[in-house]
Amino acid sequence: MIDRDALRDFYDDYYTALDDGRFEEWPAFFMEDCLYRVIPRENYEAGYALSTMYGESRGMLIDRVMGMTRTQMFAPRYYRRFPGPIRFVSREGDSVRVRQNLLVVQTLIDRKTEIVLSAVCHDVLVSDSGQPRLRERIVVFDSEMIPNSFIYPA
């Protein structure tokens, strides 16, 4: 049973790990068998499956972290994530479906801070040996014109 306190703790840990750049910890917030999508709102609403960032297993998220830390080339930047309040949508057995707004901003050297994503997250969490984990996270962003690149996960 995932209660509100457990959810709050989960998301506090999730966003702190990402904001602090501890990306190697990120895949463990997900179940081994999971779905992660960061998708433009127009695709989501039209029923188009194309996602800007996509993973269908914890392994793919591990590969995403490997890609962004070892293979991608980009100007250095900080991302900071501003989640809104968590709203319970439904509960089914051991899983809970929640949604929350999310603003992701980036700061590059000598530049003004700018918005990377203005989004709503549709998440499904399950209890995995007493520990909440994401079985599904769909980040639907309104801000479809991305300022150049989208590097770190939301």
Binding site: P40, Y48, S51, R58, M66, G67, M145, I146, S149
Partner: protein
């Protein structure tokens, strides 16, 4: 026509002066001579407007347009600018309509752009109204010439543009019809990004296999695009279009990869399905990526298909619209494969994010050094197609054509 007060460097083929990327007069002249000149510009895919009455708005050059389906076999492209007061009257991305209506004064047009009615044309209770010489036939939306070719919609502002096949040339027509072979396409979705660099840098990026075989660690490491593989860099007869072709290799240490500081022999994928490509064309090529000058990149990389539409927004920036697609007859497995591989491309692409970043870094580096010039002599100073990727031949080809077009 703007006059250009610039002189090309003495090393005609080996140098590209930095003012081509930042001079506002050059940019203004490009709009007239390149974008609104005798060139076919990418508008969209027929699959985006499958039903009669469907429309899609887009921008070609800097001008907003609407692509409409007026009939089962009729596609129109008209300017999204009311003939009355110039309103960009259609503000949604897509829709279905019987007519095009400007909300400001309720002028309405057919899907072909003909003016059908102007509110109060005959006045109200005998007052006002349009003058007697007002003829609706003189006040339609501006109509562009359209070519719908195997699922892709092209438009041109110029009457001098040759037929689309001739525009590509026979060699590039063959490359084009390898992928756009007449089968119906299915839209998988969009990605959009704004890149703070001159639009030509995007063309150059896809004409530059030299960078692709070094910068893109993901490609290099997994043998998708690397200098030791069988490959080709082709340029059309005019120089304006280019294509990079590569066959897949292995993740192996050899005489070439051992010299590349971006080759990572130790990387293993936790879930290798992202590279689970299957052969789907008669040839053995893993990557064919083609630039159709000036407006689009046509991607056929592994099984990931996309059009990448360039929309210039000034000398120092462009919007980049990606439309990912599959064939309408794809199996669910094939569709899933294309979606998975799209992780490599787009603004978050494990490969393509590198390009947007590199382009912005180029613009930052040279924008304020217009007396200097880039060096593009890798592989010599020629502009003929070659059977390898250690070359800047396609960039030289584009500037040979660009200079002719710009009168420089």
């Amino acid at each position: 026509m703007n006059s250009i007060n610039r002189t090309w460097p003495a090393d005609t083929m080996g140098r590209v002066p930095y003012w081509v990327y930042s001079d506002p007069d050059i940019y203004a002249a490009e709009m007239e001579r390149v974008w609104y000149g005798p060139h076919w510009l990418y508008c969209g895919l027929e699959a985006e407007i499958p039903n009669v009455g469907d429309f899609k708005t887009t921008t070609i050059g800097e001008r907003p347009v609407i692509m409409t389906r007026g009939g089962p076999d009729e596609i129109n492209v008209v300017e999204n600018r009311c003939a009355h007061r110039g309103v960009k009257f259609c503000q949604v991305r897509k829709g279905n309509a019987k007519e095009l209506l400007c909300p400001y004064h309720q002028w309405n047009y057919s899907l072909r752009g003909d003016l059908q009615g102007a509110a109060f044309r005959r006045g109200v209770r005998g007052q006002g109204g349009m003058p007697a010489d007002f003829d609706p036939r003189d006040h339609g939306l501006r109509k562009l010439r359209v070519a719908a070719v195997n699922g892709v919609v092209w438009a041109t502002f110029s009457n001098d543009t040759p037929g689309f096949r001739e525009y590509l040339g026979e060699r590039f027509w063959r490359h084009y019809t390898r992928v756009y072979d007449g089968r119906k396409l299915e839209i998988l979705g969009y990605n959009r990004q704004h890149i703070k660099g001159n639009w030509k840098l995007m063309q150059e990026n896809i004409k530059d296999p030299y960078h692709a075989s070094l910068l893109h660690v993901f490609f290099v490491t997994f043998g998708l695009f690397r200098a030791d593989q069988k490959s080709a860099t082709e340029v059309d007869q005019t120089g304006r279009h280019g294509i990079l072709i590569s066959r897949r290799g292995q993740q192996e240490v050899n005489d070439v990869t051992s010299t590349m500081r971006t080759f990572r022999g130790d990387i293993k994928l936790a879930d290798p399905r992202i590279l689970d490509a299957v052969k789907e064309y008669p040839d053995e090529d893993a990557i064919q990526i083609m630039t159709v000058f000036p407006s689009v990149v046509l991607q056929s990389n592994l099984n990931s298909m996309s059009t990448r539409h360039i929309v210039p927004t000034g000398p120092d920036g462009f919007d980049f619209h990606w439309t990912h697609w599959g064939y309408a007859g794809d199996t669910p497995e094939m569709r899933q494969r294309r979606l998975r591989q799209s992780n490599l491309f787009g603004p978050a692409g494990l490969v393509s994010a590198d390009d947007g970043e590199a382009i912005e870094m180029c613009q930052q580096g040279f924008a304020h050094s217009t007396d200097q010039a880039a060096l593009v002599v890798m592989g010599g100073r020629e502009t003929e197609s070659v059977e390898h990727m250690v070359t800047e031949v396609a960039i030289r080809g584009m500037y040979r054509y660009w200079r002719e077009t710009m009168g420089l």
